[in-house]
Point group: C2
Chain length 144, copies 2
């Protein structure tokens, strides 16, 4: 009996209208570090990260104002997400010596680019919220 050997090649997904090939599959930790989804996007497309950069879209905010704007974010979660967004270069943190000391956050040019790209998907989600909720209902209780 002949067994076909499975040749392991990097898997690329090609998108029409674009010359680039986008790597989707990775087969080692080293490859994962080169993946834009695993290395870049995974740190910035979480719920709180999207909400934070959108909340800063119109200009800098102090920590307290940012927390009040978002409403339902725990202080510790906000602090942690701000630190990670600053680490990745999407926002700057400025401490005014005061008194009183004031800490404010502002999007960088990279952060503004990110917001520009996120907006269409957020508005799309807004337009499709009922479609998704209906899909959830159908999945839980299929008709007939």
């Amino acid at each position: 009996m002949i067994r076909r050997s499975r040749v392991c090649i990097p898997v690329l997904v090609q998108f029409r209208n674009r010359f680039d090939m986008l790597p989707i599959g990775v087969h080692s930790d080293a490859e994962a570090l080169l993946c834009p989804i695993r290395t870049v996007l995974s740190k910035v497309t979480g719920k709180w990260q999207i909400i934070i950069v959108l909340a800063l879209a119109e200009g800098p905010l102090r920590f307290s104002a940012l927390k009040r704007t978002i409403g339902d974010v725990p202080q510790r979660v906000l602090t942690e997400n701000l630190r990670n967004l600053q680490r990745d270069g999407y926002l700057t943190r400025t401490v005014s010596p005061g008194p009183p000391v004031a800490v404010s956050y502002e999007l960088t040019a990279l952060g503004q680019e990110l917001v520009t790209l996120l907006k269409p998907i957020v508005f799309w989600a807004k337009d499709n919220i009922e479609t998704v909720k209906a899909a959830r209902r159908d999945y839980e209780c299929p008709a007939g």
Copy 2:
């Protein structure tokens, strides 16, 4: 001494070039259910969810082919994410009775729309991966 009362009003972020107002802040669980980021996007912008819908962008795939395409996804994680994406209406699951039984996954029209919106942000991440890595290095070891 007069204390100003803090009036709690829903916080809306207005974007230029768009008439809609986007709600960012929520102050109750009921409001959170109406938020497109908290209710819709938070279930579909995770690392594996983005990777899965992109892997299906070119057409339907069987479970085994999808797992092989992605490469580094644990079977249990893939199964769970596929179930959630199906629940939210982004893909369909088809069982061919066989033998052998074959289970395949295919994007719905909603899933295709999502892919179309995700592509620009993935290519942007690809173009900016070195910028983000440099920001991380600067944050960990600030110069001078």
